[in-house]
């Protein structure tokens, strides 16, 4: 497969970036998108050029490291997959592929296609935890009966890998899907009730401080999320927030 790649190149956080065009040949349909970029980088290194920087780690869709806005969509045109799981068979010989970093003021570019997503860490640190005794008196989680539906909803919310595709897809660069998933996974369980009032307020406050936009319910985040995190989580977070504010 022969492809034309238009890739955002930016030397550093402060440097001015621009799209640069590369030609690449010998791409197999069974390769993942990141393997295709590996081939490009090998080629660039052999030519004595600087390789393209991009985030990756597990390469099996569970770590949330890989990102990339591919042809206008986070993680590319496929659904419910991360960039590392995106196969090159989704593209055709002769295609031009545009590759950009996730764009959000709260996700500044570090270099090329790598963005700083530590804003998500700070939101998580603001309230995404529960107080559990872990000093040897830990109560078995299964000792507390939990309604099946709540257990399932909590689990699905917890499958959010924090990749940032929701922010990248949203026209407002809103982080509400991420934040709501992190709020929901605790809000649905009795273990999460202790800090419920502070949690949602603190996480939403941090989300706003980071400079993410407002949710306008376009639903783009849910469609592009590689884990299929539901918009219901945002409605739940809104309820949790209103309830928390009313309690003071």
């Amino acid at each position: 497969m022969k492809l034309t790649l238009k890739i955002w190149r930016q030397e550093s956080a402060k440097a001015k970036g621009a799209m640069k065009t590369y030609q690449i040949d010998g791409i197999d349909g069974d390769m993942s998108f990141l393997e295709m970029l590996d081939v490009l980088n090998e080629d660039l290194i052999n030519k004595g050029e600087v390789p393209v920087e991009f985030d990756h780690d597990c390469r099996e869709g569970i770590c949330g490291s890989c990102s990339l806005q591919i042809n206008g969509e986070p993680h590319g045109p496929d659904r419910l997959v991360t960039t590392c799981q995106l196969h090159m068979r989704k593209f055709n010989d002769g295609d031009t592929i545009t590759i950009e970093p996730f764009r959000a003021t709260a996700f500044p570019v570090i270099q090329d296609l790598i963005v700083d997503r530590s804003a998500f860490d700070r939101i998580q640190q603001a309230g995404g935890y529960i107080s559990v005794n872990t000093s040897g008196n830990t109560v078995d989680a299964n000792a507390i009966p939990i309604e099946k539906q709540n257990a399932d909803d909590s689990f699905y919310a917890a499958t959010c890998i924090g990749c940032g595709a929701c922010v990248a897809a949203c026209k407002n660069a809103s982080a509400m899907l991420f934040t709501s998933a992190k709020v929901s996974q605790f809000a649905l369980l009795p273990q999460g009730e202790v800090e419920a009032t502070e949690r949602v307020q603190n996480m939403v406050r941090q989300m706003d401080l980071e400079g993410f936009g407002n949710c306008t319910n376009t639903g783009a985040c849910e469609i592009e999320c590689p884990k299929g995190i539901s918009l219901e989580n945002i409605a739940r977070m809104n309820r949790e927030y209103l309830s928390a504010v009313s309690k003071g």
Binding site: R103, T105, R205, N217, T218, I223, E232, M237, N238
Partner: protein, 218 residues
């Protein structure tokens, strides 16, 4: 200040003010549609709305506040959302994951705002001058004639029709979306959202019918 500056509080405020305006729209349509089959009913209901103390002294100021609040908050949120992505994408495929109306509420809203300007110029300002500046004696039969007269002009009628199309687009996303914003997401939500979509098309379509009815029948 903490709550007012919160993204969720603003979102809820936007939804609640929108829901209030949607309710008002239904009431406005109910009165206006009577003009197509009973000028007497239209005159009588309009006279009631125009002279009732509670409507004039309480409902009308609340409505005007609701309209201004909805637009001002819309602009504030739009400015915040634009600043949340300071560098735009070279390639952004919005159609792949969201509807055009959901992404362009600010533009459909601006058309509705322009329409409200004309609508106030046509009806509300003359009404205020008639009642409170010139202090004319009450006339319960004047409303139908004033309505019909406005729709003689094909340009004005055309602009009204186009505006109602944009209003339908705005409501098609906004009305259903407001339930999500206030956190309403239970077994009744799906049905309510369907009702909201039907309402979003039916009410503006009804207003278009009224405008065209008077244009072609008088």
């Amino acid at each position: 200040m903490g709550i007012i500056s919160s993204s969720i509080a603003r979102k809820v405020a936007m939804a609640l003010s929108g829901l209030f305006l949607v309710l008002f729209l239904g009431q406005h349509f109910t009165i206006n549609v009577t003009s197509t089959f009973s000028p007497e009913t239209f005159n009588s209901w309009s006279h009631f709305m125009g002279t009732n103390f509670l409507v004039q002294a309480i409902l009308q100021p609340v409505l005007i506040f609701g309209v201004i609040f909805h637009f001002v908050m819309g602009f504030i949120l739009e400015a915040r959302n634009r600043s949340a992505r300071s560098i735009s994408y070279v390639s952004y495929k919005g159609n792949a994951n969201s509807s055009w109306v959901s992404r362009n509420m600010i533009y459909t809203g601006l058309v509705v705002l322009a329409f409200l300007g004309l609508h106030f110029y046509d009806f509300w300002f003359p009404e205020m001058v008639h009642k409170y500046v010139e202090s004319n004696p009450e006339d319960a039969t004047r409303y139908y004639g004033e309505l019909v007269e406005k729709f003689h002009d094909p340009l004005r009628t055309g602009f009204y029709v186009i505006s109602f199309v944009f209003l339908a687009l705005h409501l098609f996303h906004g009305f259903a979306s407001s339930f999500q914003s206030v956190g309403f997401n239970n077994k009744y939500a799906t049905g309510l959202k369907k009702f909201a979509k039907v309402y979003a098309i039916a009410i503006p379509a009804g207003f278009i019918f009224i405008a065209l009815f008077h244009h072609f029948n008088h």
